[in-house]
Amino acid sequence: MKISILIFTMLFNFNLFAHDYHVSHTTLFYNSSSNSIEITIKVAIEDLEIAILERESQKLEIETVNESKISNKLISNYFNKHFNIMFNDVIYDYQWVGKEVSNNLHDVYLYFEIVDFHQNEESILLNLKNSIFMDISFGQKNIVLINIEKNHHNLIFTRDLKSQSIYLKKE
């Protein structure tokens, strides 16, 4: 179903104690010893399960005996679809490393990696497109922290701002 972009008002969906604020945290960290970009994404387990259920009609049930055998694959697919990383207009695929439930059992950390990354030019254009969970939660905010050598940025992605670009300087 295709719906054109309209802006209008709607009733707020109450999120009480159960799940009060929809936010994801992503860190892109350049590891100079391994020449890789380490991607850590923290999301609420509840959000992730709803997103996969609504998109893929699959129940994840993370960390339970019933956890889907292909849950890592499903998660990986979802993020590759909703979180794109481009350097100088080339999309970089990132590989699945693993996942880990947070100590407080509310969130799950997802680990991905871009291996063999070399920044040879003086300045490169990094473009990020992040629409994680924006298809299920209207107030979703995705915070992305960029730590690539001397470049430190903190970007916030919302429904109205899904794509952002910055220049990364070598020195």
């Binding site: 179903m1 709607m10 104690f17 860190t27 960290f29 960390e63 490393v97 407080n104 629409s131 915070i143």
Partner: protein, 780 residues
Amino acid sequence: MKTYSQLYLFISLFVFFSTLKGQDNLNNSDFKQLHEELPTPNVYRAASGAPGHEYYQQKADYIINVELDEESHILSGEVSITYTNFSPDVLSYLWVQLDQNVRAKNSHSQLTNTSSLDDNMTFNAIQRMHDEMNFDGGFKLEEVTDLNGKGITYTVNETMMRIDLSKGLKTGQSFSFRIKYFYNINDRMKIGGRSGYEYFDTEENSIYTIAQFFPRMAVYNEVEGWQNKQFLGRGEFALPFGDYKVSITVPSDHIVSATGELKNTGSVLTKNQIKRLDKAKKNYSEPVIIVTEDEAIENEKNKDKTKKTWIFEADNVRDFAWASSRKFIWDAMAVNIGERTVMAHSYYPKEGNPLWEQYSTRTVAHALKIYSKFTIDYPYPQATSIHAKRIGMEYPMICFNFGRPEEDGTYSKRTKYRMIGVIIHEVGHNFFPMIINSDERQWTWMDEGLNSFVQYLAEQEFERGFPSRRGPAENIVEYMKGEKSNIVPIMTNSESILQFGNNSYGKPATALNILRETIIGRELFDYAFKSYCERWKFKHPSPADFFRSMEDASAVDLDWFWRGWFYTNDHVDISLDQVKWFKVNTTNPEIEKSISKNKKDNSEEYISDTRNEITIPNTVTEMDFNSVDFYTYYDPFSASVLDIEDYNKYIETLSSEERGLLLSNKNYYELEFSNLGGLVMPIILEFEYTNGENEEIRIPAEIWKKNSEKISKVFILDNELKSITLDPFLETADVNRNNNYWPPKIEATRFQLYKQKTNNSENLMQRNSRAKSKNIKNED
């Protein structure tokens, strides 16, 4: 013309510079007292943080009769309100809150929530939107009259209703009126909400969790006048205390639970249920089942067309809520609070088992005990936990809590601990804000923050290592180091808060935990916190009353802490910039010269010197004896007889104290710190000595009192230091630990730690079941 523009430029520059100068000359210290931020103390609110000698509050008493129409999900009835004015002011109108109007079509809540659609929405998201926008859940007022049935003048403004009084209501006078009304109950599963029903398709039954179901009086006091902020959905409620008598008419086979105590037990419960309830009242060790799972399953099979009325009464409460269903299983136990017995109840459907039967009532009892220890003795006769999928929501003596196992009866660790956590939290709301009755519409943190703090204490007493979400300092780091445009101070009105959960639950809970563990200390903190709770139980505290009480009862000036943690969005990042090591110059040539020699021998060698050792086989002075003189082989590090004589003479001129100091062989360390995050905080250090010993140093935050950006501190130590760690016990919420070490050390990221671990994709339960099946095979 030209002259004018030059003059204008001159004037504006002058104004600009003088403004800058003015700001420079103000006291911008982080330790400046909060006198300008806090309201001036008065006869209603004392400077100590306690209620003043003329403190007053209004009273609202309710008689409510409502009836539930299960077929069409409509609640209808009437409420009689008696409002008593204890303020010194004469009131010409009253404001009543019509909170259900937040669900009226085109309400301000709908209109003021910005959102957008895009081309990538799921079907369910679109469906939810339709459901929300098409539902009309506002109050339908049928009659507004005095108690004799005579109409009175009123005006509805969104979620508020003004009742006009024909003559002013003076101090001590009461006014009574009656409202007949109905409204459509919302399907919580479709459009959310704190109140509503959950429908179970398979047997066509519902669980009703009903609240904000009657027009409620707004608070009037000397802080806000009439509480005049509309209900937009976020900022919750501000309500006066009063006595309630509530009659609830539902299908005869429903079980009803509510705020207060059931007054017509004989006409709504069976003899068997009454017998079991009596047994529960005497059982302090475990819950007693009053309606069993089998009875509930039997009960939900048929639908009784007749109706029964349940009558409840509650005294000195600020609100009333209830739950009703034919699906309810019911258990209860007695809890000792001080000299009194309080009942803990739970109501849940079979879908909640096995979790609810095992944990709900036990958790209610635990929460009551721990909160009573840290705040005030729970004053009400009972506390109830109702099973409600997805939400956690609080009312006096009753709360609605999530936590539903899978259909096969299994449940994840997450489901279990989050259920226990939410029950502790919502039962805890009895204390904040139901009894210590802060204004939720203005300040979410005053109930959610304080409650999340005690919740953390209660969770840790439930089980060692309980997976608490909020409380420990390190849990708030990610939020506080975030982009500042997305973070507002805690002292922000409820509706304007960004990152709601972190701002008003997490950060204040952490701040209180830091006060307790690091700044004030447990004993002083607990006394002060309890004093605040005792002072303001059954009253309306404001933020200043809390800030002042905590200082007044602990004798710790916390203005700097409230300023930093509650009035700014700064974070903690203290950096250990430099460590300098000094030894006293003993002036003894034998000691000092050998130290100097050692220093030279141990210093790094310049690369040319290293290479020249090899590439220059012989220099001139090595080859030609005649090129050598006194200076060629003079050893500056050797002490001559004359040097030693001079030294002995010098020692004789010193007093014995001076001599002691000179020979003490102490190590002097100068540590330099900078405050990169903005928040001034205590400096906690761990010294590790070369002899293997460790020492903990705790310096109060006042070390920053004269310079909140850069300071140095000298330590005189017997032993030599091997390493220093700043904030070694993770207690200050320092967001960057890479500048906390000497010698410098970079901490591994979470990603790297994960990768270092040997990993397999199996979860703990899968691994456990694989281990079990292996055991069985081995036994075969």
